[in-house]
Amino acid sequence: MRGARRALACAVLCTVMVVGVAAAQDARLDRLTPETRALVVPILDSARAAGLPTDPLIDRALEGTSKGASSALIASVLRRVAAELGRARDALGSGADAAELAAAADALRAGATPGVLVRLRDGLAGRRLTVPLGVTADLIARGVPADTAAALLIARARSARDAELLAFERSVARDIALGAAPTTAATTSALDLLNNIPAEGGASGPVKHKP
């Protein structure tokens, strides 16, 4: 009888843990309207069942809510992002983590093909890909052709640290802002990186901005 009581206590404890996990999962979704949540939760469940990270999806749902988007639009965006995460995972493999998949999904959204992601994966095997993929996505968004961006990243990222790649991106952005053609700016900055120009920091993006 004591064993049975102990088993019952285990069952209760596990149930509490399960409820706790579920509650933790739902905590961020509390900011969604009930209508949005009803549309979003099945998409999250499908993504989770497919082994995809759900945090990028929840982030987009929260972004849409904060920006006042309709429930239908939020759901539509989430379906597209989930599809992009799936394509990213197919290209990078099941070993890719959530940050890498999110960066790869951004690169796809910016215009990279799955083939570009595969080239980056193969060309930078053994390296964490979040920064190379993020820099690739940002270069494409700034107008650098996807193939050029990938080739430059593969050539430079093997030996460059994250901070150096991010400094490379800032250099490209600065030259484009000054009027250089995106491809020229990227190629010139890649040569500078090759010549070991000192890195300036660890995060992309400028410091002072004017709206």
Partner: protein, 176 residues
Amino acid sequence: MPERPDELFARVAAELEHPAPMDRAVDARVMAAVRAEATRRPWFLRRRTFAWSPAGLLMRAAAVAAIAVGATIAALHLRSVPPTSPPDHTVAFVLYAPGARSVSLAGDFNDWSKSATPLHPTASAGAWVVTVPLAPGRYHYAFVVDGKRWVTDPGAAPAPGDDFGKPSSVMTVGRS
């Protein structure tokens, strides 16, 4: 003359009817040894017997099922959580917004809250600033001016797409 089997059995049975004399302290010694055994070992190492009653079996099955469900859900949940890294960069976000009454930062790092990360006006007129500790990763974000106007970071890369009609910027934070 050999003894007949029934006579042998009768003799053995008669002998067994007389219990062997036993020390009166045996019971006390045995029980003391049992109690000492029970208290010497932690509960999970003690010898025990199991009664396989239907209710006990049902409870054990429920416990196993609950553990399996809990482990599955926890595993699924943990897979969706990116590897936790301590914030190893403090990023300064600065916006030049002369005439603004308030400026805040909303993004993936604060669940897109329009009030959680306010920028503070600096001594330079029109400049607003806030520093945010960020772990390595990729973040979408935007500034919110006066609680309603969404402003991208012109120096950062634009987030791909304009899904919600109010564009965002994107930032990648690398490892040190």
